[in-house]
């Protein structure tokens, strides 16, 4: 059963979000004060409007009060949002992904009862995952195709004290940190240094001992609002542990949704493409609209090719995560499809954005025009998560079957 039909719901969702982006999000995103790539105030009003459309709970199951969207549907939506504003897209995608994973998959019934209603009731309740640490070294790099020294090198610790966890440490590059109301924090369960797995503990924003600070300027930027968590004797109830101690399932679950980051990147490329296509049909040089010149026509074709092939790879990876059985029955190749899509699409989209900017001549580098922003945003996508070479090393280990069961590849 090979089908490329989108469902009626998916098409309707796309139209609804595209309409919202055209009417509300894009005009705000292209305001002059947001075109400076360095400093961008988050569009909080538009974020609220998106919440009212139900996007904050897009991936949360219908039984829990969400829209129950699968990976592919989320990819369609996040592309539309990012074509308007990648930061709003990133904030929403993080929240809806974490809502699905936490509420639908990992929480106990008792935890759901405590946390779900506040999440649903507050349109400004966003979620964040705190994993990375400033002195952490999560790269595969030098460890390529070699035995890992230890699975976890987290320095943030959680020690049990009576009915509480006492957490100490610093997390950085936490997407949604400035506005999240609930953090899923990855900790080393006890300072034993035995290299066992991490634990996930829920930390509400108002927890004593938690401070949210700005990101260090020398840290690689991400889309969305980023920040640091500083946890000093931060106390939360023991019942805030998600799943079992030292067996955090959250990072692996998040990986299953990696294709949505790629769809966000695709939205940036599409915004650049649409701008160039419009301009090429307006601007006249050489006595005709520039799209009628071979050089510009072929360039726009190149952009369209790159974006469409990227979309195909991204959607396949998303669909694969929604249909793990397709690996088992050999419908899908035994390959890490999300990582493959990441390498191809992030390069293709960066070059597409540069080409789109070139169509504008000098206006392509002006800060009062959006093209330089699209190029910058695409450059960031090229490097968020794993860098290009790093991703290839993971793919190489996967295709060699190194330390992997074949059924795991859907998650890569």
């Amino acid at each position: 059963m090979y089908s490329l039909h989108l469902s009626a719901e998916q098409l309707e969702m796309r139209d609804t979000v595209r309409d919202f982006v055209t009417r509300e999000l894009k005009p705000a995103a292209l305001a002059a004060d947001r075109l400076e790539a360095r400093e961008r105030p988050l569009l909080l009003d538009q974020l609220d409007q998106a919440s009212q459309l139900g996007l904050r709970a897009l991936a949360l199951s219908e039984s829990a009060g969400g829209a129950g969207a699968d990976n592919l549907t989320c990819c369609i939506v996040v592309e539309e949002l990012a074509a308007g504003d990648p930061d709003v897209a990133a904030v929403l995608a993080h929240t809806w992904t974490l809502a699905h994973i936490l509420f639908d998959r990992l929480m106990t019934q008792a935890q759901r009862e405590r946390f779900l209603a506040p999440f649903l009731d507050d349109p400004r309740c966003h979620l964040a995952h705190a994993y990375e640490e400033p002195d952490g070294d999560a790269s595969l790099g030098i460890g390529y195709h070699r035995p890992r020294a230890a699975d976890v090198s987290l320095h943030t610790t959680a020690v049990r004290s009576g009915n509480s966890w006492v957490i100490n440490g610093t997390k950085h590059r936490v997407v949604n940190a400035p506005l999240a109301k609930l953090f899923a924090v990855e900790v080393a369960a006890a300072p034993t240094g035995d290299g066992k797995g991490a634990s996930t503990i829920l930390v509400p924003r108002e927890a004593p001992g938690l401070r949210v600070g700005p990101e260090d300027s020398s840290t690689l930027r991400q889309h969305g609002a980023c920040g640091r968590l500083i946890l000093r004797d931060c106390r939360v109830p023991v019942e805030n542990l998600i799943g079992s101690e030292r067996q955090s399932a959250l990072p692996a679950e998040i990986k299953l949704h990696a294709s949505q980051d790629l769809a966000l990147n695709l939205g940036i490329g599409r915004a650049a493409y649409e701008a160039a296509l419009d301009y090429a049909q307006l601007r006249v040089q050489g006595g005709r609209r520039i799209i009628e010149h071979q050089a510009i026509g072929a360039k726009l074709a190149d952009i369209a090719i790159r974006l469409e092939v990227a979309r195909a790879a991204i959607w396949q990876a998303a669909w694969a995560c929604d249909h793990p059985a397709a690996y088992a029955d050999r419908s899908l190749p035994d390959l890490p499809l999300a990582r493959i899509a990441k390498v191809f699409s992030s390069q293709a989209i960066y070059h597409a954005a540069k080409d789109a900017a070139e169509c504008f001549g000098a206006m392509g580098v002006m800060r009062d025009m959006p093209l330089q922003k699209y190029v910058h945003d695409a450059l960031i996508c090229l490097h968020i998560g794993e860098a290009d070479g790093e991703t290839k090393l993971h793919i190489a280990e996967a295709i060699a079957g190194y330390r992997r069961a074949p059924t795991n590849l859907a998650a890569e």
Binding site: E36, A37, D137, S139, G141, I142, G143, Y144, S217, S218, T219, L220, R221, Q285, G286, G287, I290, H293, A295, I296, K299, K354, A357, E358, F360, G361, A362, G364, V365, M366, R367, D368, Q372, V375, H376, L379, L382, H383, A387, D388, G389, E390, K392, L393
Partner: protein, 401 residues
């Protein structure tokens, strides 16, 4: 073949290297970070550089300049660009129009304009061609008289009255003298109906509009020039009326190319590539991952190899073009080298950014180099610039027959 530099060339290179390292580099990132595009400029660095000869080095000796050859100019541009591409370009912009003055102005004009230029450390030059509706049409003009620049010049007695608007003009907000292309006959194609005027900054009726807010080359001032009944003496016409195109022909450059400008962008790109290579190598040696220097990783070595091989290929090409210019060998090579430099500067600065990002770093300088390099897209490597060079090649083939 002898690649040895003369003592004089070497001396200029060393002076430039020292000035770049001690004076230019320390202000480079701070100037880039200033948000207001009018405020990024720094007169102090211009004065210091001018006193070392970096503003006037292309003026011929007989007119009081340093009379450096093209090889020296290429070396100095690369050295300065290694510290800051936009500051290097601000100096070399003056050389570009020094060449033009030397090649095309009358002795009377040279006396009138070169003397104050040489005497004043803050005297910068510029040239106005681009207009809001005329970018590529100035580079590859179609036959239609309506295409291309529209700034109008009409004669009234001993004066010409200029009306219209220029945009993206280099040094617009800081220059004291500009070469302005204006239409003196709007009923014929651009090349036959355009005249070049020497327009001092204080010309009545000329005002400077906004300074463009670019993502790269932020030190370099590109601005609007607005002419409202601006009055320019007839004595300020360069070459014949309706003969703006002679700038290249009288310079002996029968290829239709821009003798210095193409080399300029390629040499500047070379300096930026040198900077990126240096940064990347230092990072690979200093930064550790998994307890070992990044350099120990094969992928890092391969990226460093690629950066250096591209940079050295560009160096060979740049120095060859400079040498050919000095030997009055005219070809399309300068244009090809300029196009090539676009591809090289972008790939090399992107690899440098990639190595830093791979180490989790948002390095402000690596980011700056990528933004500066993207400027080449529309100046040196867009399809019009490439087709223009192809057409030079085609004409050259014909003249060789």
């Amino acid at each position: 073949m002898d690649f040895t530099l003369s003592n004089e060339q070497r001396a200029w290179q060393m002076t430039a290297r020292k000035f770049a390292r001690e004076e230019v580099r320390p202000i480079s990132l701070a100037r880039d970070a200033i948000a207001d595009p009018r405020e990024t400029f720094d007169w102090e660095i211009i004065r210091k550089g001018s006193r070392l000869g970096f503003r006037t080095m292309a003026v011929p000796k007989e007119w009081g300049g340093h009379g450096t050859d093209f090889v020296t100019q290429a070396l100095v541009m690369a050295e300065l660009a290694r510290a800051d591409s936009a500051i290097s370009k601000t100096f070399s912009q003056c050389w570009k129009w020094s060449h033009l003055i030397a090649a095309t102005c009358t002795d009377e004009q040279k006396r009138r304009f070169l003397a104050p230029f040489l005497a004043d450390d803050t005297f910068l030059l510029g040239k106005g061609i681009s207009e809001p509706g005329a970018g590529s049409d100035n580079r590859l003009p179609p036959e239609d008289p309506k295409a291309g620049l529209k700034l109008r010049a009409e004669r009234k007695g001993d004066e010409w009255i200029l009306n219209g608007e220029k945009c993206f003009i280099a040094n617009a907000s800081v220059g004291k003298l500009f070469f302005i292309d204006a239409r003196t006959n709007p009923d014929v194609p651009l090349r036959q109906g355009t005249t070049m005027f020497l327009v001092p900054r204080d010309t009545p009726g000329l005002r400077i509009g906004k300074v463009f807010n670019k993502s790269g080359w932020r030190f370099y001032q590109n601005g609007e020039m607005i002419f409202e009944n601006a009055r320019v003496p007839h004595a300020n016409i360069v070459g014949p009326v309706n003969g703006s195109d002679m700038k290249t022909q009288q310079a002996g450059d029968r290829t239709g190319g821009d003798l210095f400008g193409d080399l300029e962008l390629a040499a500047n790109a070379l300096g930026v590539c040198d900077d990126a290579c240096g940064m990347a190598l230092a990072l690979a040696q200093d930064r550790k991952q998994g307890g070992r220097p990044l350099f120990d990783q094969q992928l890092v070595q391969l990226k460093l190899n690629r950066m250096h091989l591209l940079t050295e290929a560009l160096r060979s090409f740049v120095m060859r073009v400079a040498w050919e210019h000095d030997h009055r060998m005219r070809s399309a090579n300068a244009g090809l080298c300029m196009n090539f430099s676009t591809d090289i500067i972008q790939e090399v600065t992107e690899l440098n950014f990639d190595l830093h990002a791979g180490a989790g770093l948002m390095d402000a300088r690596a980011d700056k180099l990528v933004r500066d390099a993207i400027i080449w897209s529309h100046l040196a490597g867009d399809s019009v610039q490439r087709m223009k060079v192809a057409r030079r090649l085609s004409r050259q083939e014909l003249s060789d027959l």
